[in-house]
């Protein structure tokens, strides 16, 4: 990579497997990337590509068994999270690393008020008493653009709109001043005008705090708007990794090129869209060589035999026959 900033998060050679009734299967294979302070790294790909499993493994949120880190390290702030025990992770989660999810309704506690939930993080990590946490919660609610914080403090999640709930999630994530924010499809469930509000809020907060963000999304438009660097995943592996501008200008992996070309906004109205034939192979049925070979217009005989390594200088692609 061409970046010179020191990495805050450095994932190296991460492979994740799941125990299933049919035996163990690999769902993430040899994934490496870094995120520096103040930077937004996008992790993109379609359903089943392994992007969310990767993110949840960084947070060590997946139960083991069935999930298992089979290889690799997750260096964060001088510590290998792949080796950390649950007690250590509990101290890190919500404090140094925070996460927001697609559907705030399922990640907020429906029986606690908004204020209590946000304050609880401070009780847990800072040992504050509830009444001392209160003014800090008001401050945080204001910072994420929630007006009348005294009123909101006493409300329950179901009383808020989707956009406000996502703001509450962000407030909860940021109240301890984390170094890394993992945002898993944070705007996917929102309407486009509300998505614009949340994206703008995330950008503003990042400018103020220099927080590092790992943004998991399937939406290339969101990536273009938000990310400095991008990792494109396909069937559990990294297909391409590049600075965002570079990736959109010159996609090298045929999968990335296909995704960009398939978006209607890049096509002439009413004309046949470029498609990627077939579907993503499920884990365990990913064949010998490149898992994209079966769907790839540029596939060579070699692609069906050998897994292509991720190569390049600054702009990396895992492809035997990349787009020139």
């Amino acid at each position: 990579m061409t970046e010179t900033k020191p990495a805050l998060l450095s994932v190296r050679g991460l492979s994740i497997g799941f125990a299933t009734e049919e035996g163990p299967i690999r769902v993430v294979e040899d994934v490496s990337f870094t995120v520096a302070a103040g930077e937004t790294m996008g992790l993109v790909g379609e359903s089943g590509c392994g992007k969310s499993v990767t993110a949840q493994t960084i947070m060590r949120l997946l139960p083991s068994p069935p999930s298992r880190i089979e290889a690799g390290s997750i260096d964060f702030d001088g510590q290998d999270l792949a080796q950390a025990d649950e007690a250590a992770m509990r101290r890190i989660r919500g404090d140094k690393i925070a996460m927001i999810f697609q559907e705030p309704m399922t990640s907020l506690n429906p029986t606690m008020t908004i204020g209590e939930q946000i304050g609880e993080v401070l009780l847990l990590h800072r040992g504050l008493r509830a009444r001392d946490a209160r003014p800090k919660v008001f401050e945080m609610l204001t910072q994420v653009g929630i007006g009348r914080p005294e009123k909101r403090y006493a409300q329950y999640p179901h009383e808020l709109s989707g956009g406000l709930r996502q703001r509450v999630m962000i407030a909860m994530a940021l109240i301890c001043g984390p170094k890394l924010l993992i945002a898993d499809e944070p705007t996917t469930a929102l309407d486009v005008t509300i998505q614009a509000q949340i994206l703008e809020l995330m950008q503003a907060l990042q400018r103020e705090s220099r927080i590092a963000t790992l943004l998991i999304t399937h939406d290339l438009g969101v990536v273009e708007e938000m990310c400095d660097h991008v990792v494109v995943m396909y069937a559990g592996r990294i297909a391409e990794k590049a600075p965002a501008k570079e990736l959109f200008a010159n996609p090298r992996h045929p999968y990335t090129a296909g995704l960009l070309a398939a978006a209607p906004r890049n096509a002439k109205r009413g004309q046949t869209l470029i498609t990627i034939p077939g579907t993503v192979p499920p884990p365990g049925k990913r064949g010998q060589g490149c898992s994209f070979a079966e769907r790839c217009v540029r596939a060579l005989p070699r692609c069906r035999q050998d897994v292509p390594p991720l190569t390049g200088d600054g702009h990396l692609a895992a492809c035997w026959n990349p787009v020139p």
Binding site: E46, V192, T193, Q195, E225, G258, I276
Partner: protein
């Protein structure tokens, strides 16, 4: 587009009782539209704007509070149950979630044959042949016949839903977010299929989506809905490239990655249909709000004309 009208809706209203209290939820609040034969009419808007309710109203899947719906000149709201059932052959719907809309206990062959059975089309052998033809038409093959929905991917399930919808050779297909649950690479396959089927089968579409780039790609004309009303309409290019209504402007500018100009970020959430603001219903969020907007509703747009917005900025219209 010069085709004759296939579907006309006049001043459709659907009010529900509000969830709490005696108020009304104005889900659809005076909508008129016209779909010409061979045309794709796109309807865009955010959650709760009434677009799915409108779709169900024009198909008479739900009864309107008031208004008229004419299909090929016939008032479908006046039809008796038997006549309505026969008329349903002409108008079908495809839903967003192909998993929720396919019976998991029925084989794909039976799912697609069901509408043919219900409407007693042809002999059993003819129906069987028709089902196989339909599978091929939507890009599946005979091997799908005896399999069940869960054995298929999302994109394939949507193909099954489309095959069922076109089985009776309808004139009108309402597509309610047909590609929203699909990944990009699969989405383009289904959009191509829909565009192809439309010309092959002489269909007309009402295409509902929250995704502006998808709507622009498939639609001839576009309606923009906000809080139960159409606030702008025109050709796809007019509405989505040169929006006139401040809401459409904000909507278009908010699409991430679409670097057409500065992003207009609207304040707050859309109000509930149970608490429609006085005057122009968009005024509390409108960046261009004027005094008149707070108390006087803007003149309604005449349907079928050129690009028009329901907005005081464009003044009272002559005639």
């Amino acid at each position: 587009m010069t085709g004759r009208p296939l579907l006309t809706a006049e001043n459709l209203v659907k009010h529900y009782k509000a969830r709490d209290g005696d108020g009304l939820a104005r889900a659809v609040d005076g909508v008129s539209l016209m779909l010409r034969k061979g045309e794709t009419l796109g309807i865009v808007g955010e959650s709760g704007c009434g677009k799915s309710t409108l779709a169900r109203l024009v198909l008479r899947l739900i009864e309107p509070t008031s208004g008229r719906v004419l299909l090929d000149g016939e008032d479908i709201l006046a039809l008796k149950p038997g006549a309505l059932r026969r008329r349903r052959r002409d108008m079908q719907i495809v839903f967003q979630d192909p998993f929720a809309s396919l019976d998991p206990r029925m084989s794909v062959g039976r799912i697609i044959a069901e509408p043919l059975d219900i409407h007693n089309v042809g002999s059993p052998q003819e129906r069987q042949r028709k089902v196989e033809d339909l599978l091929l038409m939507v890009g599946l093959d005979r091997s799908a016949l005896d399999r069940y929905p869960h054995e298929f991917s999302g994109g394939q399930r949507q193909r099954i839903g489309i095959a069922r919808a076109i089985a009776l050779e309808p004139k009108l297909l309402v597509l309610d977010e047909p590609v929203s649950a699909l990944d990009v690479s699969i989405q383009s396959q289904i959009l191509n299929l829909l565009i192809d089927l439309k010309s092959r089968l002489d269909l007309s579409y009402i295409f509902i989506s929250h995704d502006l780039s998808v709507v622009e790609h498939v639609s001839d004309r576009v309606l923009v809905m906000y809080l139960g009303r159409i606030v702008e309409e025109g050709t796809a290019t007019q509405v989505l490239r040169q929006p006139r209504h401040p809401y459409t402007e904000a909507l278009v500018s908010a699409v991430p990655g679409a670097k057409k100009g500065p992003r207009i970020v609207l304040k707050g959430d859309p109000p509930s249909p149970e608490a429609v603001p006085a005057g122009c219903r968009f005024h509390p969020r409108c960046p261009k709000v004027m005094d008149i907007c707070r108390h006087t509703p803007p003149p309604s747009i005449a349907q079928g004309g050129s690009a028009r917005a329901e907005c005081h900025l464009y003044g009272p219209r002559p005639g």
